[in-house]
């Protein structure tokens, strides 16, 4: 009798714990679902802690004084605006320096919180109802998910459209427009940008060796061959980046795509309408392989491309004598260069030359978009402030960032190297955003990275790699 009693109790306990587990897991699944892009197509806005901006609000905000004017008049003194983003350390110091003036003028306290785990944490916070007032997204694709589920405030509802049009290149505004639960919304504003179509070279040694900056792709290949004959591999390439290994390769493909096909095809490709298995994409990969898979052209040969960290790759250019001479990477790479080097003297960049003259001078960019999760007047004011070049003025002066706003003055850039980048982006015939950041995570931050890594390391051939990448769209 006693024994059966005991057993039944244990069974009861097991059932109890099991229900607990199932309940807990169930909740977790829901949370995961709302994060994944494929599941969030449901147009009904999910429960959101933030009051979503209704269209009726847009009228009164546009007509009267803007929130920014109110803020500068001191109306929001003593309020707090929380901000969450991926940049930490030196970037955080520069950011805080840039907003200090605004904070003392308006009395609004902008509390910035930086985390290396931004991408993972922001989803948890938004789902947990703990969204920051403003979040800084380095990948618009991720923001797109939140826009779709109706958790992001439409900034067009209170900002002056004409002002935005005057201060941003149209491509930027187009890229900020995303699908909301009911129609398109402007999901955020571009606050910082970086230019990607750059080839870095050790200027001093480069000039001493008598090399000339190439103006066309053919000239660049001739230079590569010349350097190889002289005894060095021309290119320093590394794509290792922990779990993100492979992303520098995707930048190459995007840059070459812009140079070998029309911008329309590029857009189709980014949206998934032009498959990776198409000859246009394959052609771009082949073009890249001419450099990457030639052991005389790449430092360490192709086997070291996959194992070299992207940040360590350019360092061999600054050995004496240089072990490699060219390195294609975005503007941020200078923070990985040895610290005693002078920009414009020891190193410089040239524009990755066009391949086919009919596509003009396309430029690949990336950037950070600030999105708003809670609609309060002081948050509006801060968002408006971020649309002005003034908001990153000191950051521009200390280097490492290019302003997407038109009212940022060229003389703010303290080095010629960065001023030329800003000009390059301004004068580009085609400006396109980093494609892999726009694609859904399963491709842009998944199979695209992995497929390129597999292709370069030689475990699959070109057709196999393209099929592998394309499979990410079906996930």
């Amino acid at each position: 009798m006693r024994k059966t009693n005991k057993t039944s109790m244990i069974i009861a306990a097991i059932i109890l714990v099991f229900t607990l587990l199932v309940a807990a897991c169930g909740k977790n699944n829901n949370a995961a679902n709302s994060e994944s892009p494929s599941q969030s197509t449901d147009p009904s806005p999910s429960v959101s802690a933030s009051p979503s901006a209704s269209p009726s609000e847009s009228g009164d905000a546009g007509a009267g004084a803007s929130a920014l004017d109110d803020a500068l008049a001191g109306k929001f003194k003593g309020t707090k605006v929380t901000m969450f983003g991926p940049f930490t350390d030196a970037d955080q110091v520069k950011f805080e320096d840039a907003i200090k003036d605004f904070e003392t003028k308006t009395g609004i306290d902008i509390q910035y919180e930086g985390s290396k785990e931004f991408e993972a944490t922001i989803s948890i916070r938004v789902d947990g109802g703990n969204a920051p007032d403003i979040a800084d997204f380095p990948q618009p694709g991720l923001l797109g998910n939140f826009a779709k589920s109706g958790k992001v405030i439409d900034v067009a509802s209170f900002m002056d459209g004409d002002k935005l049009k005057a201060n941003y290149n149209k491509s930027w505004l187009d890229m900020a427009t995303m699908a909301g639960p009911s129609g398109n919304i402007m999901a955020g504003i571009w606050a910082r940008s970086s230019v990607k179509s750059l080839v870095w070279y050790p200027k001093k040694a480069f000039d001493e060796a008598g090399y000339k900056v190439p103006q066309t792709w053919d000239e660049m290949m001739a230079l590569t061959e010349q350097i190889a004959k002289d005894g060095d591999p021309a290119w320093a390439i590394g794509i290792e980046s922990g779990a993100a290994t492979g992303w520098p390769a995707t930048d190459w493909i995007e840059d070459i795509m812009l140079r070998t096909t029309t911008p329309e095809n590029y857009d189709k490709w980014v949206k998934g309408e032009l498959p990776f298995t198409d000859d246009i994409v394959k052609n771009a990969v082949k073009k890249m392989s001419e450099i990457w898979l030639n052991k005389d052209y790449v430092y360490g040969g192709k086997k070291s491309i996959v194992t070299t960290a992207f940040g360590d790759a350019p360092k061999v250019m600054f050995d004496n004598p240089p072990k490699a001479w060219l390195h294609r990477q975005a503007s941020f790479i200078t923070s990985f260069f040895p610290q005693d080097l002078k920009s414009g003297v020891d190193y410089d960049w040239f524009y990755l030359p066009p391949i086919d003259p009919q596509y003009g001078n396309p430029v690949l960019v990336a950037g950070d978009i600030y999105a708003m999760f809670n609609d309060r007047p002081e948050v509006r004011a801060v968002m408006e402030f971020f649309t002005t070049g003034e908001s990153i003025k000191t950051w521009i002066q200390s280097g490492g960032v290019i302003a997407p706003m038109n009212d940022a003055k060229p003389e703010w850039y303290t080095s010629d190297v960065e001023r030329r980048m800003a000009e390059l982006a301004k004068n580009a015939t085609t400006l396109r955003f980093d494609g892999s950041d726009l694609m859904p995570g399963s491709v842009g931050a998944g199979t695209f990275w992995k497929g390129m890594t597999d292709y370069v390391s030689g475990t699959v051939d070109l057709d196999g790699a393209m099929k592998e990448i394309q499979a990410g769209w079906n996930k």
């Binding site: 110091v93 948890i124 923070s335 002066q397 200390s398």
Partner: protein
């Protein structure tokens, strides 16, 4: 006699095996320690073991080839022909020396023989950067450059202590109460409740994160120390309860009976008898819980965040490498600094640790 010698013999074997295991476990930590004193450029060039004397190919002589040597044809060096690939990876010449490119551009070849070498470039810059914070150069609007100092680890170190100590004491205190009740008090559903607590051991804490975060948001506990104390206490309770139960339930029954006879209440028994007797056990579970909380990243990431006034060490260290990981070389030094506290706790409580591990294993 014979038996004794056999015993010492087997003891030596056991000691040898243990020493070997210790060595295997220590090598990575030691490598990290050596690396923490090496400059970043050196770490990229050579492994940490090269700080010890080792045999390496040492250049004895150099050969200058004609500048117009075609690198894609077999290359003639001292009358022998080699391919470019051979010269890149090093090739044995007939006289036993090794030929390798010194500079392909200048067409110079090193003639190497083997010799002893050690790398002795050390620096304390890594520790300086970690402890006092990095220097940032910021250009002012008028063009002057000012140096700004970043935050060091000290604030995060204190924050981590603020999190760890209560997050260790709270669950262990509750667990000890609970263990006493489960072991010696009679109340309905005692067994069921105990089994439930034990079963919670298998529930991964990750599944509870978002629901708890939602509750915290409505209670306003996010980003506060109180919130993370409660979270750690909750996650740590099942193991601590089970651990304390196994020890307390093995205490001799007569002890409690006689205490009862003398009129002691449950509380008196707990404070006067259980707590002093359970010290070894409490100490060892404290080590476990403290180490877990100290090294925790996930719970702090979700419930505290990285505002500088509450940010804990593990997150600060991760942030220290910079937005794009450009300062990875600081990790080695930071890891060692964060290890200091757990080491101190471990060695301080170590003598209880061994006793505590055996707690409950032998009756009586």
């Amino acid at each position: 006699m014979r038996r004794k010698s056999r015993r010492t013999g087997s003891k030596t074997v056991v000691n040898l095996v243990l020493a070997l295991i210790c060595l295997v476990w220590l090598v990575p930590a030691f490598g990290l320690f050596v690396s923490s004193f090496r400059p970043a450029t050196e770490i990229l060039k050579s492994g940490w073991w090269t700080v010890f004397p080792h045999k390496e190919n040492v250049t004895k002589d150099q050969i200058q080839l004609p500048k117009d040597t075609d690198l894609r044809q077999p290359i003639e060096v001292n009358g022998n022909k080699y391919s470019d690939d051979e010269l890149r990876s090093g090739v044995k010449a007939p006289d036993g020396s090794r030929l390798i490119w010194e500079n392909r551009r200048a067409r110079t070849i090193d003639v190497q023989g083997s010799g002893w070498k050690m790398n002795t470039t050390f620096t304390i810059e890594n520790y300086k950067g970690v402890l006092t914070g990095k220097q940032y150069k910021i250009t002012d609007s008028d063009g002057t450059v000012k140096t700004k100092k970043g935050n060091g680890l000290s604030r995060a170190f204190l924050n981590t202590l603020t999190v760890s100590i209560p997050a260790t004491l709270i669950p262990i205190l509750i667990a000890t109460f609970a263990a006493y009740a489960f072991a010696w008090l009679r109340f309905p559903f005692r067994k069921t409740m105990f089994v439930t607590v034990i079963m919670l051991l298998v529930v991964p804490l990750q599944v509870a994160m978002i629901p708890i975060l939602k509750d915290y948001t409505s209670l306003g506990l996010n980003g506060t120390f109180l919130g993370v104390w409660i979270a750690h206490a909750g996650f740590g309770l099942p193991l601590a309860t089970y651990f304390m139960y196994s020890y307390i339930s093995q205490l001799p029954k007569d002890l409690f009976e006689s205490a009862f006879m003398d009129g002691a209440s449950n509380f008196t028994i707990f404070t006067r008898l259980i707590l002093p007797l359970a010290v070894p056990s409490i100490a060892s579970i404290s080590i476990f819980q403290f180490l877990w909380v100290w090294n925790d990243y996930l719970v702090s990431l979700v419930f505290i965040g990285s505002q500088p006034n509450v940010q804990v060490l593990s997150m600060k260290i991760a942030d220290m490498v910079g937005t794009r990981g450009n300062d990875w070389h600081l990790l080695t030094a930071a890891a060692f600094i964060s290890m200091l506290m757990p080491l101190a706790v471990f060695f301080g409580l170590q003598k209880y640790f061994v006793r505590g591990l055996m707690g409950g294993s032998v009756k009586g």
